[in-house]
């Protein structure tokens, strides 16, 4: 039997083969089951459980008590702290990261500078948690290299009003350390997707450097910049390990609230509170990531 030339359309292959070999089509679907089962077991079920437990008491009765618990002042404070730490580090990280990307505009992608920055950013963006905490304790902890140097050489004591490294404000410089590399990774493709023809066309049409940036480059980059900013926010908001390593006791931000709910030995019946907190986190994350995907689609439309 000779085959007619296969249609080039994307769904063509699936259509023709399954029409002629129905068994083949069904067998192919089986090929999807390992992944589907895996994702079901280790993503769908845990997520559902995580969120679901928020609606039950220890005895298994449906209740809204945990959800109401979210409105307790200390929980609201934790949400607020999480939000403003994430927002501040997202904005600062976005600006600094964008500046670095700008500084590398026009450099060869396989040149020494860009290769190094790409690799370093890749590593430092993952450099969270315990190791990052060590680094900052070693640097600006009370015996830290920089702190001591500033005291002795400049006479400045950064902890004059108390040691803030192990509290919420201490998270700011630490989070920034992985926010900036993440911004570089995320924003670089967009910034380097600025076509030289646009700058050249702007020049031939009488534009200056200022008008190029204000009327063309920045408007074109805006969706991508904001999208990356949202990603940075989500990244900081969902970060746990770093805070856990620095702040050994207390629940000043939402992930630490979850820690306290799951690990708490003193307050009973708090485990299901973790579920409510998880729900709260997911709601915020979904909103942020939805905004991110909207901005991404706008970007890809222009980058033809």
């Amino acid at each position: 039997m000779t085959d007619a030339p296969a249609p080039v359309s994307a769904s063509g292959d699936a259509g023709t083969t399954s029409r002629r070999h129905p068994l083949r089509g069904a067998v192919a679907y089986i090929g999807l089951t390992p992944f589907a089962a895996y994702v079901l077991l280790f993503l769908a079920i845990p997520t559902t459980l995580a969120v679901g437990t928020g609606f039950f008491t220890d005895e298994g009765e449906l209740t809204l008590a945990n959800i109401e618990g979210l409105l307790a002042p200390n929980v609201l404070q934790a949400f607020w702290s999480s939000i403003w730490v994430s927002a501040v580090t997202a904005v600062a990280g976005a600006i600094i990261g964008a500046l670095v990307c700008y500084a590398m505009l026009g450099m060869r992608p396989d040149g020494a500078v860009r290769s190094f920055v790409d690799a370093a950013s890749g590593v430092l963006a993952q450099f969270g948690g315990v190791m990052l905490a060590f680094a900052f304790i070693a640097t600006i902890g009370s015996q830290g290299l920089v702190r001591v140097w500033m005291q002795q050489a400049l006479g400045i004591d950064i902890y004059a009003d108390g040691n803030w490294l192990y509290q919420v404000p201490g998270l700011l410089p630490v989070y920034l350390y992985f926010q900036v590399p993440l911004m570089i990774i995320t924003f670089m493709p967009a910034l380097h997707g600025l076509k030289t023809q646009w700058a050249e066309a702007s020049a031939t049409l009488g534009g200056t450097r200022l008008t190029y940036w204000t009327r063309i480059a920045i408007p074109v980059l805006a969706p991508s910049f904001l999208g990356s900013l949202l990603l940075l926010f989500a990244n900081a908001f969902s970060s746990y390990a770093t805070a856990a390593a620095l702040i050994s006791q207390g629940a000043q931000i939402v992930p630490l609230q979850i820690r306290s709910a799951l690990v708490s030995e003193t307050v009973l019946g708090r485990e299901n509170m973790a579920g409510a907190l998880a729900l709260g986190m997911i709601v915020i994350m979904v909103i942020v990531m939805w905004g991110y995907s909207v901005l991404q689609s706008r970007t890809s439309r222009w980058q033809r």
Binding site: A50, G106, Q126, F134, G144, A199
Partner: protein, 271 residues
């Protein structure tokens, strides 16, 4: 367009702003690393410097003193290997299958692989305990079982790395060419498709290893021992060794990531 022309019309920054930005940011980013390195040479509260912390790793007592830590490192390495296996054995075939046979499911697959960003480890872990009590019944409580959860955490990164490769190489045409040459599915997969996916699979693997080595949240809440939990534990009694290993882990990840970049470049020069 040459750089000079680009600078003249404002499309690129001049030499001075470039250097200033890169040097200033670079120096600031280097400080914590320098702080870590300096710390590992400190001789305790008495001041002064020593190599003891480093040499202590290779003396005869080391294996005993740091047994827990070395075991944790071993656990992390095993976890990395198993996670990569999950990526290669479960994710990769699914991505190829969807790309070639079920293109309409592409968006769904992408969505699923991006979910772990929206559902971070700290949320996932709240619901993982019950699942893992079942896992322990079936597979025992060996350290490697944690990889099941890690496979989910690395999904977004692995997916992106493999997808970039799938899109860059025209898999569909290669597949159809193989078919017209009368090759069967398995042979095409082995001889035609996989060799062309080497770059993406390696990139996905390296990133997965980096992520697994840095993972703390899930291991901590499931009371497992891995590199990060052990580091935190050790830091309470011997912060210097903890810092040394943190530096080494960082260096290892850096080498892995430079290798990915190198792979990409080799591909380009040979094509």
């Amino acid at each position: 367009m040459t750089t000079r022309s680009a600078v003249r019309i404002g499309a690129e920054p001049g030499r001075l702003p470039r250097t200033l930005i890169l040097v200033i940011v670079g120096l600031i980013m280097a400080v914590p690393i320098i702080g870590m390195i300096e710390f590992t040479f400190r001789a305790g509260l008495s001041g002064g410097y020593t190599l003891d912390h480093w040499t202590g790793l290779v003396d005869e007592d080391a294996a005993r003193t740091y047994r827990g830590l070395f075991q944790a490192i071993g656990n992390s390495l095993v976890l990395a290997v198993v996670t990569v296996a999950i990526v290669v054995v479960i994710l990769l075939p699914t991505m190829i299958l969807v790309h070639l046979r079920f293109p309409r499911l592409q968006r769904l697959l992408e969505f699923v692989c991006i979910i772990p960003i929206t559902v971070p480890a700290i949320v996932l872990v709240v619901g993982l305990a019950p699942v893992y009590s079942v896992v322990v019944k079936v597979f025992g409580s060996a350290p490697w079982t944690l990889a099941f959860a890690y496979g989910i955490t690395v999904l977004p990164y692995a997916y992106r790395a493999i997808q970039a490769n799938l899109e860059a190489v025209d898999m569909r045409t290669l597949f159809e060419a193989g078919r017209t040459l009368s090759a069967s599915w398995p042979r095409i997969l082995w001889h035609v498709l996989l060799p062309n996916l080497r770059r993406g699979v390696l990139a996905a693997s390296f990133i997965s290893v980096a992520v697994v080595l840095g993972e703390f949240t899930i291991a901590s809440f499931l009371n497992r021992s891995n590199l990060q939990t052990a580091l935190l534990q050790v830091s309470k009694s011997d912060p210097w060794v903890a810092t040394i290993f943190a530096l080494l882990a960082l260096l290892f990840a850096f080498i892995l990531l430079i290798s990915i970049g190198r792979l990409g470049r080799e591909r380009k020069s040979s094509s």
